[in-house]
Symmetry: C3
Subunit: 343 residues, 3 copies
């Protein structure tokens, strides 16, 4: 009997199936420091215990996307080891901050299946939840991937495409208990711009660029215990390139967006996202954002801002797609998320 994990194939998934993913992870100050070494992370709430306390939290939590990557990474051996493509995200919600000492594990429920017409692949939709040591859900999100079939002759399952929200409504967002931006210190946070200073439709070029290194994306991807071979093994592709984990690009773009959006402190929702083109070492990643929406929340001084975050490997900002409707070759990521910021 083969002892290694061959990954799951399309016909291994059934609707309603719950997969308990392996290898729980206790996170702490080491993960935090590494996140800040690998990305230009500067959002004050995730940098300073004092700033977090002044915002009503007990201490500085693990960066929102670091928590996401940990939860996501656990799903890879069961969901995307044989994935041909990561097709999308929806209904991502940050439900509870993750603090040093918390232990995270992940479960996924299969909520949609659709065999492709070529009979060689199919699309699997899963709703993944990250749970802490008290079995509280800290993050949940839907993603869908195209997965190979083991046997092209295996019968197709009944097609079920889940009904997903094109975007979370502000009321769908969970505000961390106690969060309060009434006494928010703009100077310490790094920029004077409150939510009121941003207009819907406003576009921001985040200016800075970071050239990607193999050692860095591999360290990040391993830290999240993401095992996808394409990120680590230069012999995996004919061109000898290692494909960079899409989450590395997400974190790079989000942290680059500090310059212009320093007060968009916490990610609260992920409406959708596309990895438009693959990223490789040597690419210099840049980012721009567009304000899609704004809303008040019930928490004192806390607003919610909906942002499009686009990562590029250079090229002009503020353009996404060509006349053919396809992403331009220099666009790496098109992400749609909600962040919490002082009103």
């Amino acid at each position: 009997m083969v002892k290694t994990n061959p990954g799951w194939f399309f016909e291994d998934y059934t609707l309603g199936q719950v997969i308990n993913h392996a290898v729980p992870r206790t996170v702490g100050p080491g993960e935090r420091a590494l996140y800040h070494a690998l990305y230009p992370a500067r959002h004050a709430l995730y940098s300073s215990d004092q700033f977090a306390r002044a915002s009503g939290l007990p201490q500085s939590p693990l960066d929102d996307l670091a928590a996401f990557h940990v939860v996501f990474g656990k799903t890879v051996p069961d969901v995307s080891l044989n994935a041909v493509a990561n097709l999308g995200y929806a209904e991502g919600r940050w439900l509870k901050p993750v603090y040093p000492g918390d232990t995270l594990r992940s479960t996924s429920e299969v909520i949609g299946l659709k065999q492709n017409s070529n009979c060689k692949t199919g699309v699997v939709w899963v709703r993944t939840r990250g749970l802490n040591q008290n079995d509280e859900t800290v993050i949940s999100f839907v993603r869908w991937v195209m997965v190979r079939k083991r046997d092209v002759d295996a019968p197709a399952p009944e097609t079920v495409v889940p009904d997903l929200k094109p975007a979370l409504a502000p009321a769908d967002l969970t505000i961390p208990d106690g969060l309060d931006f009434s006494d928010y210190d703009l100077t310490l946070a790094g920029e004077p711009h409150r939510m009121a200073d941003y207009e819907i439709g406003e576009q921001i070029d985040h200016v800075d660029g970071v050239t990607i290194e193999e050692a860095e994306h591999m360290m990040a991807t391993r830290l999240w215990q993401n095992t996808a071979k394409v990120h680590f093994d230069a012999t995996n592709r004919e061109d000898g390139k290692r494909l960079i984990y899409g989450g590395h690009v997400i974190s790079m773009a989000r942290t680059l967006s500090f310059n212009g959006l320093a007060n968009a402190q916490m990610i609260a929702g992920l409406n959708g996202g596309a990895h438009a083109n693959p990223c490789f070492a040597g690419d210099t990643v840049r980012a721009w954002s567009e304000v899609l929406d704004k809303a008040q929340t019930v928490a004192p001084g806390v607003g919610a801002i909906r942002l499009r975050l686009v990562a590029t490997r250079g090229g002009a900002p503020f353009v996404l797609k060509g006349e053919d409707g396809k992403y331009l070759p220099h666009v790496l990521l098109d992400l749609d998320y909600w962040a919490l910021m002082p009103v």
Copy 2:
């Protein structure tokens, strides 16, 4: 007087000599996170405090090999700075888990000496012990190295070759206090295979590969405060290559072996090992294992499995040596160890 460390030469060692190595090290969550960023480490006991507690330990210890590297690193300035070759390991025992906050130091006793017939070098055997802040031995092992003589005319010492066990017996292994795999969660651990599912003689190709980067092996080697120049200085060799610390290959192979041996949780003994060929950046490291032996232990639900772990830079698995009896050029490491796993 020269202030820098010239390293020790063969004639500096005397039988029975005890060397107290420098620079004690307090280890903690930062070392743990870096280990998991530098290697694809996924063994649940070293990843989750909850999993460690469910296994009878107070919390998740520092990874077994990270502790080994810290203890080993301290010996380099006194034992292997002038080493021509690391010849072997024997009688390695993990006696006590290392927890965050522990401070490690190392001592070595010279237990064997043999001048080579060329009169230019000799072999030194040392038994190294790693001690914690309570002077408890946490790790002990024997290694032997070939060391240059300062003066070829220095008299040869009496030849003493220590009598070393070809392998530890199961009864030689120390089981951590309280370790209990009775309620072991195979799902969380990542694979369904208990010790009973492995047969003696069984071989496992661990499938995955990791391409080695300069930044990564240097960060690892520095973290263990290993000062050997060949790992850091590209001007040290004529070909401009930096030789990769053998321990980097050991950790890479051991963590790659998760895929197929996820439940071989803790290393308890090191029977022997050879660094068959040097490893350099750009090599893609792979690993295979062979089950050499199995035994019960006195701890509830805990078995001991003896494994050969082989690291390669590609090439066919399951072959080690050519017709000339020498390791094949693609073989990097041949290690023989005992691990603890659920029976």
Copy 3:
């Protein structure tokens, strides 16, 4: 309104102005471990809680230069984003050790201004202070940078060049509360040389070299939340090179100086420093030191040694400048500092 930070220009500074820099940072075991992974740091006081306690401190502090980099990094967006050159340091003082859990922020006071005769740039002197969560100053230093003018026609400010000490006197140094080297363990520290064993004028070649990698200097620079574009963006210069943060060279040289100065445990003062030539990935950094002065302190067993620390990219040690009075091309750094060591 542009939301991103354009940096400050020469005419934005006024004498006496106080700048409160953004993004406070809680430091901990993760930062410590990364410092020891990125540099060959081995000074025992910063490596072992036990060694620090035996020296009268409550635990091992964050490495002196790591604390410096954190404080320095915060000033970059306001002081040196548009800097043409970092011209010098003076009157640097380590006033209080930084411990895990401390939160650091920085403020700078403008203490000097001098427009250059070309009217395009000017020199700004700032005294920067790093403060902890109790508003205690932990580090202070003066640095001066050449900054571009936004508008060449902007009027020149009154020229004020601050009166800076060419070097701190021993009496200017602050010894950490409780520091006591009476029972200092030379064996654990790694070398037998006390301050008495060094002569003024003595020169030490630290022998070892480290070849610099892009991933490493970027991780370090990001960890200190230093945002200067030239360190991260390979498209920023015509030659595609990333300029390495001068502080990376300082830390590399200081940690390399362990080999020969293992007992120069803590940096207490920075008298001056020049980044003589830029450093790039691929350079192999080496270091040599010269003993400039020695003094007693009031703390038991604690002496102060004044050292010149020179980093090179190879080439002969112990030479700094050519016949033209300029630094030789292989010299990277010329630093003048006080360290505390056992008498």
